[in-house]
């Protein structure tokens, strides 16, 4: 079949017509058909907030990793970073859908991703750090995936069957993410003086924000008592152990850094973010906000 111009080819009606798009051309609900009943005794506002915390971590890191597409140093790594971003986006979609369905405010995953403003996001701040520096990307990916893997591995036994099912899938994916980041950390650290310095400088940017992962937010504490959430204060030992082993293999002395604390007791989980976050959201949300009816 030939066309006089490319636009005609795009505009051509598909021979199978609308039957091809039984569910429309927009995103369909990633939890379609999954039993989304909330277990008895679980506060729905808390459960929604917790799903947003874990979903927003994945969504924002996914957005940062996607920035490497078309400009990574090697095609293989561009593909790897895009695949990791895609896994995280898939996890974010399920978690945001879960949050939307339990909060009862008639917000779907798209409404939550594209139409919340900065203070409504619940991600930790370290995923907001600017991309564009591979050392920093690897440091952030290693830190977040090490923490997330330890968390998901425990979340598999959550009293919430949806969180448990999402975790059981995600734990396998994040295993591959952590391996990718860890092997690159070793390759950079045990590479040239220059590559080692770039990795060290990446960790110097990320490590100040690490404590936030282990503070145990009030929402989390209440859900731990209900058997739904994982107590993040218990993840520190496994996290420190993995980072120490990677650092040893990478011949890297993790930099001593001044910890960035909370702002009046508030941090990312409370909607207090870094100065980089607004720019990230502007890029991520601009199309959806300019044309709220857009589908893709």
């Amino acid at each position: 079949m030939s066309f006089d111009n490319a636009y005609e080819a795009i505009a051509e009606t598909h021979p199978e017509g609308d039957a091809r798009w039984a569910f429309g051309t927009g995103f369909d609900d990633p939890l379609s058909g999954v039993d989304t009943t909330v277990p008895a005794g679980v506060d729905t506002a808390d459960l929604a907030a917790y799903c947003l915390m874990l979903g927003d971590d994945a969504l924002i890191l996914s957005q940062r990793l996607t920035e490497w597409v078309t400009c990574a140093h090697e095609l293989e790594d561009e593909v790897a970073l895009a695949n990791i971003a895609l896994d995280l986006l898939g996890q974010a979609r399920m978690l945001l859908s879960r949050a939307g369905s339990v909060e009862g405010l008639d917000r779907d995953e798209d409404a939550l991703a594209y139409f919340r403003s900065e203070p409504e996001f619940r991600n930790v701040r370290l995923v907001e750090l600017p991309g564009g520096d591979f050392g920093r990307t690897i440091a952030a990916l290693l830190v977040l995936s090490t923490w997330r893997l330890a968390l998901l591995n425990r979340l598999v036994t959550s009293a919430d069957p949806v969180l448990s099912a999402i975790a059981a899938k995600a734990v396998k994916e994040v295993t591959y993410h952590r391996e990718y980041a860890a092997r690159w950390a070793v390759r950079l650290g045990d590479g040239t003086d220059y590559s080692a310095e770039r990795l060290r400088s990446g960790f110097a940017d990320v490590l100040p924000l690490v404590d936030e992962l282990f503070t145990g937010h009030a929402v989390e504490r209440r859900l731990v008592a209900a058997g739904v959430a994982v107590d993040s204060t218990e993840l520190r030992e496994e996290f420190d152990d993995v980072l120490a082993r990677v650092a040893e293999q990478a011949l890297l002395r993790l930099p001593e850094v001044n910890r960035v604390g909370s702002v009046g007791g508030l941090a990312g989980r409370d909607g207090v973010h870094t100065e980089h976050f607004g720019y990230l959201l502007a890029e991520m949300q601009s199309l959806a906000r300019a044309d709220p009816e857009a589908t893709w």
Binding site: P30, E76, N83, M94, K172, E173, T175, R178, A182, E238
Partner: protein
């Protein structure tokens, strides 16, 4: 005696099982192990249950669309496609026929005895960290050489890794264990 519902179910299952994966068209959804169940209701409606391979697998929407279309074309008017997340899909659910067809098309099937940490059941304990490439028994799908090398743990899709053969020098894909 075969009841009408039972016959309907058999036919619906055959249609659903013949639908192919949009990204691995040499495999049916049944070969891949993502097709979990086909049931027929008393009123003749069909409910198909599928499970995603990876959380972000963009092929899931296509699979649902293809299943819906296949069953509608086969004459079923009430078709529902359910997603089931638990238990999570595992590469060990790829059927023998699926593994054979992958290999015939130059994609190495997963080595379930590999030490890749995602392939192992840790029984609730910490997921082990391995800093070396996973041990896998891999022969080049083109020349059968066992001198192969991993170029990347990720390939054109999240479910595959990229390898190359050191003898015939050709790159090939490997279906990862999860």
């Amino acid at each position: 005696m075969v009841t009408r519902t039972e016959r309907d179910r058999t036919v619906a299952a055959e249609v659903a099982e013949s639908v192919t994966d949009p990204e691995l068209p040499m495999l049916t959804l049944a070969d891949l192990g993502v097709l979990r169940e086909v049931t027929v209701t008393d009123t003749g409606g069909v409910v198909v249950t599928i499970t995603p391979t990876y959380s972000g697998c963009p092929a899931l929407t296509e699979m649902r669309t293809d299943l819906h279309r296949g069953l509608t074309e086969a004459g079923y008017t009430d078709v529902r496609i359910r997603t089931e997340l638990s238990p999570p899909w595992s590469s060990s659910w790829i059927t023998e026929r699926g593994r054979r067809k992958l290999a015939e098309h130059g994609i190495h099937p997963p080595d379930e005895r590999s030490n890749a940490p995602a392939a192992r059941d840790t029984g609730g304990g910490p997921v082990p960290l391995t800093l070396e490439p996973p041990r896998r028994e891999i022969r080049c799908p083109r020349c059968d050489s066992n001198a192969t090398e991993r170029t990347s743990e990720f390939s054109a899709t999240a479910c595959k890794a990229l390898y190359r053969c050191l003898d015939c020098r050709e790159p090939f894909e490997y279906f990862k264990e999860i």
